[in-house]
Symmetry: C2
Subunit: 235 residues, 2 copies
């Protein structure tokens, strides 16, 4: 909380939580500016932050209003662990395999490396409250992170961060699949049961690919929920 607009943003969140209900109007920007002794632009920066988080919405000519809650937040790039914790589960995992192999042409293209380049591959069964939740397979170019430096007992993301490989953005594809016999057995569901297949290409802030992961989620225990808006729009 170093900057003024961050402080004001926090203050406003507090006010929203305490004295304002959904669709109640916040004080006008000019009023807030005077109240906090800052310029109006600063207040607008604070409100802009709240708008991004969809805590409030603004209507031109009318005012700034508290958004109705029970709206899910936009999905963030999270690790399985973070995701499960936020869903109220206790996450754990069991490693099914970890090895290094030359990358296939398809994998290489997505990770933007030469086909055949060595890649670490990690296959894990992910559990929530001790019961199977997802089957995850991760590929990382060996040039970025080698199997030798991997500690299977610790969070992969944590170790990537320590190695200076921060995941900042990811490209994600979600589809529906039927589980194979082997996968359904691991996830402890019937053969052919539906599952959400999420393929994710994780990239650094600069946009260079770091990790390619495919995760199969049990459809009876997992779904995606997120808001979308109309704008972003015109051409």
């Amino acid at each position: 909380m170093v900057y003024k607009y961050e402080v004001i943003s926090e203050q406003l969140i507090k006010r929203i939580g305490e004295t304002l209900g959904p669709h109640d109007a916040l004080p006008p920007e000019r009023e807030l500016a005077e109240e906090y002794g800052v310029s109006r632009m600063t207040v607008r920066a604070a409100i802009a932050k709240l708008t991004e988080q969809s805590r409030v919405y603004q209507v031109h000519g009318s005012g700034t209003f508290v958004a109705s809650m029970d709206v899910s937040k936009a999905p963030r790039l999270t690790s399985f662990t973070e995701d499960m914790v936020s869903r109220g589960f206790d996450p754990s995992s069991s490693v099914l395999g970890a090895w290094t192999e030359p990358s296939s042409p398809e994998v290489a293209e997505r990770l933007k490396i030469e086909p055949g380049t060595q890649c670490m591959r990690l296959k894990r069964l992910r559990l929530a409250d001790g019961r199977p939740m997802a089957l995850e397979e991760t590929r990382i170019p060996q040039s970025l992170f080698s199997l030798a430096q991997l500690d299977l007992g610790r969070s992969l993301y944590e170790q990537l961060t320590e190695a200076g490989l921060d995941l900042y953005r990811a490209e994600q594809e979600i589809r529906s699949v039927s589980l194979t016999a082997a996968d359904s057995k691991l996830l402890q569901v019937d053969v052919g049961a539906p599952a959400l297949c999420v393929e994710r290409l994780g990239c650094s802030r600069r946009g260079s690919p770091i990790e390619l992961a495919q995760t199969l989620y049990r459809s009876d225990r997992y779904s995606f929920r997120f808001p979308i808006t109309r704008d972003g729009n015109e051409k």
Copy 2:
């Protein structure tokens, strides 16, 4: 293109497309400000727009750079028609049923109306290039839009907009399901085939629910692709 920052934003997109490649730096903000004869804040507004669309990224203390392309845009709230066109398909649809019925408690709760209130219900088979793509079921409170005023030959969204019912935000849930015998026949796939089930609650700008829709997409023809980022940040 009414405002300066919009014009500048367009200009920059043109420059990016023509003379700049991924990770090339844009001119400094101060330089752009002078070049376009505007204040730096206006240039920043233009760049902020491009950042939202992840066409560029900024690094504090370093510069503004062109993002690597081939990143999919964040999903927008679109009609089936818009969605299909943007995917390069020719959309059409056939109405399977349209009627009015009292809302169930579950539906009523989501639409924030009294249980039992009359709701219009519309069931359509959606086609892409003449082949089944999705099965869509829509519910709209009769108090907002009545079956009588519906023209089945025209876009539902278009008619909603004309009635002043603009969808601005939606809450969306995605899961994986196995198709029932009846649904699989309509979609012309095998019984029990996997499908993406998307449930969407469309709301006005003010946040009041307008439409509850459930769509089953053929998994062999449809998947979601979108970017996510790490931030949306702290606490």
